[in-house]
């Protein structure tokens, strides 16, 4: 092998190799999520493109969509379409527009069954015609998620699946799994799974609507967060 330069470091620089103790680096296409603290902890520096991201909020309404706001705004302003598949309520256009999302690029897909939801999500991912795919599947099984992950691969779109937090205990083929909780009026982002070493500490984001935040000073808050939120990390140890 004399004369053949071989560098172990060069091998490790390959984008398709990642070491278990670090985040995977270059080569992972990602959409910056707009929160520097969170971007720094995500492989590639943002929401993974061409892969599933599971978002598991503790309760509806704690900021699960606001978390995606900057990324969705950026994608839609570049003229990319955002597919919302089986959302639980009507996405409210004025609020989305106020968050910078170009609502001309939204498409809402309503389905009658969870089978249709999975089918529509798969079609949206396979077509590679969307800037992002958001889906609210109900009770998806591992094999079904695996299908979606394969459909997403090679595409440019990040795929966000919103599921209940009870799904945190099940295994999942998603590239990124995030559980959301509230903490001190902000949003606590627990990275349950990422391509890299697990993250023990939650990331705290000030995810509150601005008008409410300014009012917040005048309102008495409960001194402590509810107990359910506090022992959240303990419950997720086995996830």
């Amino acid at each position: 092998m004399a004369g053949m330069p071989f560098s172990f470091a060069a091998l490790l620089d390959r984008p398709d190799i990642w070491r278990g103790d670090s985040l995977s680096r270059a080569g992972t296409p990602a959409i910056p999520c707009g929160f520097p603290g969170l971007d720094a902890e995500l492989p590639g520096g943002g929401w993974p493109a061409g892969a599933l991201t599971e978002i598991l909020p503790a309760h509806e309404g704690i900021g699960e969509l606001r978390l995606l706001g900057p990324a969705l705004a950026g994608l839609s302003q570049r003229g990319l379409r955002l597919a919302w598949i089986a959302p639980p309520h009507l996405p409210y256009a004025p609020a989305l527009a106020a968050a910078g999302i170009d609502i001309a690029n939204l498409v809402i897909v309503r389905t009658a069954s969870s089978k249709e939801t999975l089918w529509a999500t798969e079609q949206a991912l396979v077509s590679n015609a969307c800037g992002a795919v958001l889906a609210w599947p109900r009770g998806a099984k591992y094999a079904e998620l695996r299908r979606l992950q394969i459909a997403a691969e090679g595409g440019r779109a990040p795929a966000f699946l919103f599921r209940g937090q009870e799904a945190a205990g099940e295994s999942s083929p998603a590239a990124l799994r995030i559980a959301l909780d509230t903490s001190d009026g902000g949003l606590a982002v627990h990275v349950l799974k990422r391509r890299g070493a697990p993250l023990a500490q939650p990331i705290l984001l000030p995810a509150m609507p601005p008008a409410v935040r300014s009012k917040n000073h005048h309102v008495d808050r409960h001194p402590a967060a509810p107990a359910a939120a506090r022992d959240f990390s303990a419950r997720l140890v086995h996830a």
Binding site: G50, A58, H59, E60, G61, I62, G63, L65, R66, R81, A83, P87, P88, H89, L90, P91, Y92, A93, P94, A95, L96, A97, A98, A99, I103, A104, L106, V107, I108, V109, R110, T111, A112, E116, W119, A120, Q123, A124, V126, S127, N128, A129, C130, G154, G155, R156, T182, G185, M208, P209, P210, A211, V212, K215, V219, H222, A225, P226, A228, A229
Partner: protein, 425 residues
Amino acid sequence: MAVAAALALAPRLRVAPRDPAAETEALLGVAGWAAQFTPGVALEFPDGVLLEVSGSLKLFGGLESFLERVRRELGEMGWTAAFAGAPTPRAAFWLAWAGKQKFIGESAELEPVLAELPVEVLRCKDETLAAFEAIGVRTLGELRSLPREGVARRFGQEPLTGLDRALGLLPDPRNFFVLPARFGAAIGFPAEVTQAEALLFAARRLIVQLAGFLAARSGGVQRFVLRLGHRDKAATEIAIGLVAPSRDAEHFTLLLRERLSNFALSGPVREISLQAGDVVPLPGSNLGLLLEQGKPPGQWEHLIERLRSRLGTGAVHGLSSHAEHRPERAIAITEPGSRQLHPDFGERPFWLLERPKPLAEVGAAPHYQGPLELLAGPERIESGWWDGGDVARDYFVARTQNEALVWIYREWRGAGGWYLHGVFA
């Protein structure tokens, strides 16, 4: 061979009478499809289509790849064909008719090849053919070696003129086929069909023909109709609408498959026909100079059509917002991709409940998953007296015990009370 004789040899033979009208129809269909390759398409009734391809071969990557494509697409339409090429249309047709799959580029090479062809290619009357046989003339070469005057006197001028035209000694002008304005093609089934899958297989043949027709017209369609003909009932029509004009056979097939997959046939089908009008101009697409990595971006319109073909048209929509104070009317369902204004509102939730949900009231305070804590408000919205949708509401941003933010209002009209109207997700 007589039918009786044939049946004696093969008792299970299925005999079908020839249908000249259907044959002509089929030939016209093939001509319409072939017009995508060249504007010079001529018909040789009842079974030949002539294409003037010398100008188009380069575009289609040479003779070999052109032939491969023609053969494949004809196969998809359910036809088999014999191919031949020559400098004159008549020579090409004769070679194909005689089953000699030869392609002759130079006029000089034509004569020896034609000389080997049987005299039957002349398609003259049976008596004439019998007379040729009687004098021992089997091939065109043998016919040509006879004295011209004698042949003309005995068999008329026709065989000689035909030969001269084939050899390019006489001009052989053709009327080129003119494409109809609308597309229509049909397939009749030998036995009635009850399965959607079989229908799709047959419809695929018509779709390939449609795609060729549209390519010839440099256009696309936004709507096509598949008609299912039944024995004793009115025909079933399946209309497929597209968001944007297209002429992509694969896409058409996919849409039809989705539609047929959850379609209840009202009865056995005897024949299907495909119709499309309103051809709109559709420019070709340019490929990028540099190949991009990864999957090529798909077509947005195709995705919408695929989703709609299975979930229904109303299940896939866009949103728009209006300058209107009542929150439920500030939003409208639109076609995906509609351009719109963005009026400025105050703080609004990402989720709007389609029907406001009445909230329990405990000691005059609203409850939703426990007591609610009011964070911001009230924002008074009082509007709509002119259209009967009169509202008078005080909106608040409230926090639940789970620290979720919700949008609630107190109704001042009618029964009053508190309602949940949105979620700040």
